[in-house]
């Protein structure tokens, strides 16, 4: 389990090792045919900043070899913003006074109708953590409701037990995204003081439970802004490396959420610039040619327009982060403000102009 694996690394040592990388380390990493975790450190280090253009070119080429000139489209559907956790940075946090809502069957189907009209076939269902009202039974019911309309169902909800994942996979669940937020155990406690989420070990072992349950794809990531992003990212890459070797039948994806303003938001400890985010995306690709790299609408139009060519393989558009937001846009329910609000049709044209094909269907429930 990863909670054991992670003990091999000391946060401060990793951090000083990353910041101690030199241009010679970066050049060696770029020259090698295959890179390891030490090379990844060099690629995300400040020493790699002057090599950004070269890294971008490599990332583009490696991505095209593996994924072609295509971009997978997906859309999130928020089912509930009820939450029993306190997370210092999140708009759904228990201590924040917002209207709470969990979609009924009828409301879910209303959302589905609109999302289908937008053209989507891969869906990501999202909730807070409210185990009594939005637990396994709720998820099974939701999957059964939406299954006839989508070819690929992903989930970003609270971590569950292995047997619960097994049941959901049986129902048609393909992908589960669980972000550790931060791999810094002490800081994790500060940011998650209350609720089931405050248990660091349970969360960090979630992917092991998913792997044992036989999930097709799982997503790993950290929330940028809580801790030093380079050190946190190294832990995420280590996690990915461990998972790929242990659960070799699963696919993996990485997301890059940067903290966005939300109700009750905290000041950020470590800010990540656009340049650094590009560096990180390219570094991941150069480190791992096969991993899927995903981008949400948290980022700006200009950033999203340009990142398509640099290593990203899946992207959402026109997203709402409040439950029921597609059918009934309401105020004061959303998890965070999205930045790029362009319509799906507009965004598809942007992708095509860059010489890429937006792909809506790349899975079939019959293959599960």
């Amino acid at each position: 389990m990863f909670k054991e694996e992670i003990k091999k690394y000391n946060w401060d040592e990793v951090k000083s090792s990353i910041y101690g990388k030199t241009s010679a380390d970066v050049e060696r990493a770029l020259r090698k045919p295959k890179r390891d975790l030490e090379d990844f450190k060099a690629l995300i280090s400040p020493a790699a900043a002057p090599y950004l253009e070269q890294m971008a070119a490599m990332s583009q080429q490696l991505t095209q070899e593996r994924f072609g000139k295509t971009i997978q489209m997906y859309i999130p559907m928020y089912l509930s913003n009820e939450c029993q956790n306190i997370c210092t940075y999140c708009g759904f946090s228990l201590d924040i006074k917002i209207n709470r809502k969990t979609l009924s069957d009828k409301e879910i189907l209303e959302e589905v109708k609109i999302i289908k009209a937008m053209g989507y076939d891969h869906i990501l269902i999202v909730t807070g953590e409210a185990n009594k009202t939005v637990g396994l039974d709720y998820f099974i019911n939701a999957i059964r409701l939406i299954k006839p309309y989508f070819s690929n169902i992903a989930m970003e909800v609270q971590p569950l037990d292995q047997h619960e994942y097994e049941q959901l996979i049986e129902e048609g669940l393909n992908t589960v995204l669980v972000y550790q937020e931060t791999y810094h155990k002490e800081d994790y406690k500060i940011h998650h003081p209350k609720g089931k989420k405050s248990n660091f070990d349970y969360r960090v072992d979630t992917h092991d439970r998913l792997g044992r349950a036989g999930i097709h794809k799982m997503g790993v990531g950290v929330l940028f802004g809580l801790e030093d992003w380079r050190t946190d990212t190294f832990f995420a890459a280590t996690h990915l490396d461990y998972l790929e070797k242990t659960y070799w039948k699963s696919k993996y994806s990485i997301s890059f959420p940067r903290l966005r303003p939300c109700a009750g938001g905290i000041p950020l400890k470590s800010e990540m610039t656009d340049k650094e985010l590009v560096q990180l995306i390219c570094a991941y690709r150069i480190f791992n040619q096969e991993v899927e790299l995903s981008m949400s609408t948290r980022e700006s139009e200009t950033f999203r327009n340009n990142i398509i060519k640099l290593g990203i393989t899946s992207i959402s558009a026109d997203s709402k982060t409040d439950p029921g937001g597609y059918a009934n846009p309401a105020v004061n329910l959303e998890q965070f403000e999205i930045d790029d609000k362009r319509s799906t049709d507009t965004f598809i044209e942007v992708i095509k102009k860059q010489g890429y094909e937006p792909v809506f269907k790349d899975w079939d429930l019959s293959l599960q």
Binding site: G68, K69, T70, K251, V359, K361, D362, S366
Partner: protein, 255 residues
Amino acid sequence: MEKLKLGNLELQSRLFTGTGKFSSSKRMEEALLASGSELVTVALKRIDIKNETDDILKHLHHSQFNLLPNTSGVRNAKEAVFAAELAREALETNLVKLEIHPDPKYLMPDPIETLKATEELAKKGFIVLPYIHADPVLCKHLEDAGTAAVMPLGAPIGSNKGVRTRDFIEIIVDQAKVPVIVDAGLGAPSHAAEAMELGADAVLVNTAIAIAEDPVKMAIAFKLAVEAGRMAFEAKLGGITKTAVASSPLTSFLD
């Protein structure tokens, strides 16, 4: 050039192509038409079989093309057989490119599950083209199981590395009673020509054409390379020797 017989098909072109990774369905269509390919493989997971106006299929409505559905995404024999049956029903063809890779990172084919699925699909009347490692013994087992062809990899999918399995492909070609189609890893027309010169009956190319700056031109380049390689094979290549062979110093005493 000799035609290639595969199931009920008689193919003039020995270049099989894939439909993934193109920057648009239109470019795919143009490139595949230019390639002269008569057998194009389509991933079942990419097409919407409930939708008759599916974007990929729409661009493959040409008499030149025979569709070869593939089972990419399945992880074992059971899933593969199910997927093949769906594809047969949806695309009205007995052909199936059997791809079973439980490993989604390097997409390595699973020999055990592939053999099992081939056996079952052949019994069900499918024309099975299994994607496999360049494993000569596995090829013989697959023949016994009723396979229509074997598709050994040249190098990992999408790697553009060429015929890295050359020594094993030579053995497979030497032993085969079914067509040998080198699949995966061919990154340049010269690689395709090399495979054909070795005696492969056909090659399958996708990435190298799809992600080329000019896919149409690259498709034509592969078409010519495959023809050149095949012609060279049919014309019987001379062997390679390191020294001149004018004299016979070791045996001249016999004259």
